[in-house]
Every structure is written in structure tokens, then in C-alpha cells.
């Protein structure tokens, strides 16, 4: 909010300081996501949107320590849906650490187990949560982001679960379509994140009526479908279909993925 005077060098330093999100989820993001990407996760209820988001947050806040390969970045979650739960996040983090442990050849397991809780607790300091209970609070919170990003230079990811939670409250005064509502909010998000090099992930419950309209703004569109167990990933270049299943310890990808060129999809 405050107008600041800073030299170009200071500016560069500030912009470059944020950790990279490379390796956040190699199956979904090829060498990414990049620092200003916008990622959409959509799907019906209980298709695993919040779970996937939590899984990405877990990877984001974990350290790059031994085989864990977290991003060691901070994140801020705007919680409008209130489905996110810390105990679940911890389970996902534990799962990532355990998977890393089986890969590495360390023998001193006692030492690792002692570390695990400490590593998780320390990583939790990387995650800020802002609960929003109405559309005005949500609107103001989005406008507060500048201050938050300036204050917390380690934040590399903004998560919104979900962007459509207050859609109906907004409809009370004037009716707009879900697509237009989301588009307006994304524009607002973009103005607050782009200059700070912060990537955005948001979940969305509703299906877009017009799929083409938003493609320019959104770098990755992830659509989860529970009945067919497929995750459709659209970028500007490709469309990928990946099978997934929801297990107690998170989303598991099945690797026999099919890659379809973008042209075939637009029939």
C-alpha cells in the first residue's frame, strides 16, 4: 500500500529473494511452476481439490533436506471453504518424509524419527492461514496481500480454497456468472501477486461454461473427476490425462499417462 522509494538493485534483490517452486509436483508441472503462474484446480465435491492443494502446500513448506526435496518456501492460504485441516496436512507431510526415507539409505532411523516431528513443526511456521467468513472479508484480504508479501519475503505461493466460496453472497446484490466472478477476482489477484513473483493456486467448485475464455490468464488448469478417476491437465501447449486415486495418505498418480496434443481436444 505504501509508496516506497528503492533503488533498482534493492528492487531486484527483493524480487529475487523468493524461493523457487521448482519440483513442487513433477507429474503436473514440467520444470515449474514458475514464479507468477496461476494454477486452477477444479472438480465436483470430494473429488480431491483441497487434498491436492494441501499436498502441494506440504511440498512447498517442507525443507530441501536429505531426500525430502521440499521447496523450503512460505505460503499463505486464504481459507474460505474451511475444509483445510492441519492434522491432514501433517499426515501428508509425514507421508512425503516417509517416502523420502525409503529412498535414502540412512541407517540411523532413530535419529530420523526424532527429526521428523521437528522438521514438520518447523515447516508449519512457513504456512500462514487467513480465514474468511464473508465476501467483504475475502475482498479486503485479497487487497491486503501487498502488505503481507512485503512483510514475508519467503512467501512464494498464494493458495485460495476456494475462490468461489462467496459467489452466492455476491449474487445477492447483482447477478453475474461464475466465470465472470472468477475472472474479476483473478484480475485482482494478478495485480497483487505479479510484481512480487508469487504463484497462485486456487480451487473452484463450479464448472466453467466457457472453457476457452480464461486460458490466457491461467497457466495450468487441473480438472479432477472422481467418477472416472482422471485428472485432466491443460496448459497452453498440452492436454494431459493422468489417472489418480485418493488414498488415506494423499493423492496417488498412476503413471500410465496419455498426452494428447491440444488440437485434438478442441473438437
Amino acid at each position: 500500500m505504501q509508496s516506497q522509494i528503492e533503488s533498482g538493485i534493492e528492487l531486484l534483490a527483493r524480487l529475487n529473494k523468493r524461493p523457487s517452486l521448482r519440483g513442487l509436483e513433477d507429474i503436473l508441472f514440467f520444470e515449474g511452476p514458475r514464479s507468477t503462474d496461476i494454477i486452477e484446480i477444479s472438480g465436483e465435491q470430494s473429488s480431491g481439490k483441497t487434498l491436492l492443494l494441501s499436498q502441494l502446500l506440504a511440498k512447498c513448506i517442507l525443507p530441501n533436506y536429505r531426500e525430502i526435496r521440499g521447496c523450503n518456501a512460505s505460503a499463505v492460504l486464504i481459507n474460505t471453504e474451511h475444509h483445510f485441516q492441519i492434522s491432514k496436512l501433517i499426515r501428508l507431510m509425514r507421508n512425503i518424509i516417509n517416502a523420502a526415507n525409503t529412498v535414502s539409505f540412512t541407517t540411523d532411523t532413530v535419529d530420523m524419527e526424532f527429526d521428523e516431528t521437528a522438521v514438520i513443526k518447523n515447516s508449519l511456521r512457513n504456512l500462514l492461514v487467513i480465514d474468511c467468513y464473508n465476501s467483504e472479508q475475502f475482498a479486503l484480504t485479497l487487497r491486503m496481500l501487498d502488505d503481507i508479501f512485503v512483510k514475508h519475503t519467503k512467501i512464494a505461493l498464494l493458495a485460495i480454497d476456494s475462490i468461489t466460496a462467496h459467489y452466492w453472497q455476491n449474487c445477492q446484490d447483482n447477478f453475474i456468472t461464475v466465470d465472470a466472478y472468477v475472472k474479476n477476482l483473478l484480475q485482482l489477484v494478478r495485480t497483487h501477486t505479479a510484481q512480487f513473483n508469487v504463484a497462485t493456486i486456487y480451487t473452484k467448485l463450479y464448472k466453467s461454461i466457457n472453457n476457452k475464455e480464461l486460458t490466457d490468464d491461467i497457466n495450468y488448469r487441473i480438472r479432477l473427476c472422481k467418477t472416472c478417476n482422471t485428472c485432466t491437465l491443460k496448459t497452453t501447449q498440452t492436454v494431459k490425462k493422468i489417472y489418480y486415486s485418493i488414498l488415506s495418505n494423499g493423492i496417488k498418480w498412476k503413471m500410465d499417462e496419455k498426452e494428447i496434443p491440444v488440437k485434438e481436444e478442441n473438437n
Binding site: 500500500m1 505504501q2 465435491q45 470430494s46 483441497t50 487434498l51 499463505v76 486464504i78 471453504e81 474451511h82 475444509h83 483445510f84 485441516q85 492441519i86 492434522s87 491432514k88 496436512l89 501433517i90 513443526k121 508449519l124 511456521r125 504456512l127 500462514l128 492461514v129 487467513i130 480465514d131 474468511c132 467468513y133 464473508n134 467483504e136 472479508q137 475475502f138 475482498a139 479486503l140 484480504t141 487487497r143 491486503m144 502488505d147 503481507i148 462467496h166 452466492w168 453472497q169 449474487c171 445477492q172 446484490d173 467448485l205 488415506s248
Partner: protein, 320 residues
């Protein structure tokens, strides 16, 4: 939307607000969105003051930043066991704060009985208050007394437990909102040693009728969800709602069959919007006269389709 008022900051006078309104800056969001240079022109305040007012707006109406490291401790300290062992196992220890649990089932599947059992068990602890919002006018004090008598509780204990279950009848959705807002005020006054741990709303379809895609009802449900989440999160308690099931197929008449098959045809009432609002939805099904099956229908926190059986008798709910 909150209008600008002098309560936001003493420097913002009512004449300034009038001037701003003439420029079509009426709400706090509009004030934030307006360029500070313009605001200086409209109000005659200094830049320093404008920025201060903007910060005040964020503080009063914006979201509160919390650290998950601290939230973890709050979560761990606010798990309320129902002391119904199978249910607690199902819920991984009990009811978590900030969560909305929904008990679904057809009529006379034992939803209210389960609520009574949960309410009684939680109120047995001297530190816990239970708020019971009854929309069907069928809260039954003598039933609670009966359950407690079977537990061999003394007269004094029974009186105390009954005293800690605060019942409130509502007959319309407006009254439900009134009660919830009143509850927010009284929760603020509560003593840390003895406070509300659970709010039971039995049942939602009692005051909300939803069959069509009526937008008005969706907006009402959106509002209800927001209020419930606010109460549950900010006052460290959990909310249990009761809901009915619609769209049963012929499969049910053919007697007990596999749960997953039936689930395809069954849906909670209150429409599509409400489907994703409760954090955990439990399904209560009749098996014979006395036996019931309780399963996790869907949940973010818990694994779906885990189940346990229970019986309903004059002792209340029993888990064999």
C-alpha cells in the same frame, strides 16, 4: 457490504463521509480501491491519515493472519471425545473444532437418538456446555434423563448434566439465524473453564425446504455456512447438523445390501450447494429394528466408507 463510518477512525468525520459518498465511495472496499491522492482531495486529510484509515479498515474487516504452527496446538487441544468408543474411533479421537459434522439418514434411522447420546456424553463433563437447537420440537428431556439413569447417575449429576445442555427451539430459518447471532454474543461472555464445545442443529430440513434450484435458498445456505464456520472456528467448537436423505432407489426396499450401491442413489437433502459444506458427513442406516450402521459418507479429514454398527435401546446408543 460495510458502509464507511466514523467508528473506523476518529479522523474520518461524518462530513468527510458525506463528501466521499458524493464521489460514490460508500463502502470500505470502495475506500480501499480508491487512489490515495483522490482521497486526499475529497477529504482534505493528509496522506499519512489516509494510510492509517486504510490500515484500520484492514484490521477491522479483513482476515486475521494466523500461523499454522500455533493453530496446530489449538487443534490438538480442542478434540472433544463423544465417549461413544466406536464413533470416536471413526472420527479419529472425537469431534474436532472448526468442523461441521452432518448426520444423514432417512426418518427414524436414529439421527436424533445419536444426537441425544452425543449431547449427553459431552455434557457429562463439568467443563462442557452443549447447545441444542431443535427445529422439530422433539427434544426430549425425559429421554436424556433415562439415558443418564441407565448410566447409574445420581439425581444431582442428572440435574447438572441437564443444566449443561442448553436447548433452544426455532421454528423458522430467520429464528435460526437470530439464535446463531445471539449465540455469538453469548459465546464471547463464556468462561474458559466451562464453555460450549458443541452446537447441535437438529435438523436443518426442519426449517429449510429445498427441492428446486432456487437461488434464494442457495444464498441463505451460503450465509448459514458462513455463520456456522465462523462460530466453529473462532470459538473452538464443533457443529453437528442433522439432514435427511432423498432420492432413494428401489434398492432400499429389497432389504440390506451393500452400502456403496445404495449411496449412488441416495443424496442428502438441501440441494447441491449444501453437499460440500459439512466437513464430514456421516450416514446412518437401519439394519433390522434395533441395529444401525454408521459410516463416513464423505470427509476431507477422514477416510470414506469406514463404518461401525450400533444399537438403539432405552439405554441410548450402544456400540456392541
Amino acid at each position: 457490504m460495510t458502509k464507511l463510518s466514523t467508528a473506523i477512525n476518529s479522523k474520518l468525520s461524518s462530513t468527510m463521509i458525506e463528501k466521499l459518498e458524493r464521489q460514490k465511495i460508500c463502502t470500505v472496499v470502495q475506500f480501499i480501491d480508491e487512489d490515495s491522492e483522490n482521497l486526499i482531495k475529497f477529504t482534505g486529510l493528509l496522506l499519512k491519515d489516509i494510510l492509517e484509515i486504510k490500515q484500520n479498515i484492514f484490521k477491522q474487516f479483513g482476515g486475521v493472519i494466523k500461523n499454522t504452527f500455533e493453530l496446530l496446538e489449538i487443534e490438538q487441544n480442542n478434540i472433544v471425545p463423544t465417549n461413544l468408543s466406536s464413533l470416536d474411533n471413526l472420527l479419529e479421537g472425537g469431534l474436532y473444532y472448526g468442523q461441521i459434522y452432518e448426520i444423514c439418514g432417512i426418518s427414524s434411522s436414529g439421527k436424533t437418538q445419536l444426537c441425544f447420546a452425543i449431547a449427553t456424553n459431552i455434557a457429562l463433563s463439568a467443563n462442557n456446555i452443549v447447545r441444542y437447537i431443535d427445529t422439530k420440537r422433539d427434544f426430549c428431556g425425559s429421554r436424556i434423563e433415562q439415558i443418564l439413569l441407565k448410566k447409574n447417575c445420581s439425581k444431582q449429576v442428572i440435574d447438572e448434566v441437564m443444566d449443561r445442555i442448553k436447548v433452544c427451539c426455532v421454528y423458522s430459518i430467520h429464528q435460526l439465524f437470530k439464535v446463531l447471532y445471539w449465540l455469538i454474543d453469548s459465546l464471547k461472555e463464556e468462561d474458559v473453564g466451562c464453555r460450549t464445545r458443541i452446537v447441535i442443529i437438529d435438523s436443518l430440513p426442519g426449517v429449510i425446504f429445498k427441492s428446486s434450484k432456487d437461488k434464494k435458498i442457495t444464498i441463505t445456505l451460503n450465509h448459514l455456512a458462513n455463520v456456522c464456520h465462523y462460530i466453529a472456528k473462532e470459538y473452538y467448537l464443533s457443529i453437528v447438523t442433522v439432514n435427511l436423505i432423498a432420492e432413494w432407489s428401489s434398492a432400499i426396499q429389497e432389504g440390506p445390501c451393500t452400502c456403496s450401491k445404495k449411496n449412488c442413489n441416495a443424496r442428502p437433502t438441501l440441494g447441491k450447494y449444501w453437499l460440500h459444506i459439512p466437513n464430514t458427513r456421516l450416514l446412518l442406516e437401519k439394519i433390522g429394528v434395533e441395529n444401525r450402521k454408521l459410516s463416513i459418507w464423505n470427509s476431507f479429514q477422514l477416510e470414506a466408507n469406514l463404518a461401525c454398527t450400533l444399537t438403539i435401546s432405552d439405554c441410548g446408543i450402544l456400540f456392541p
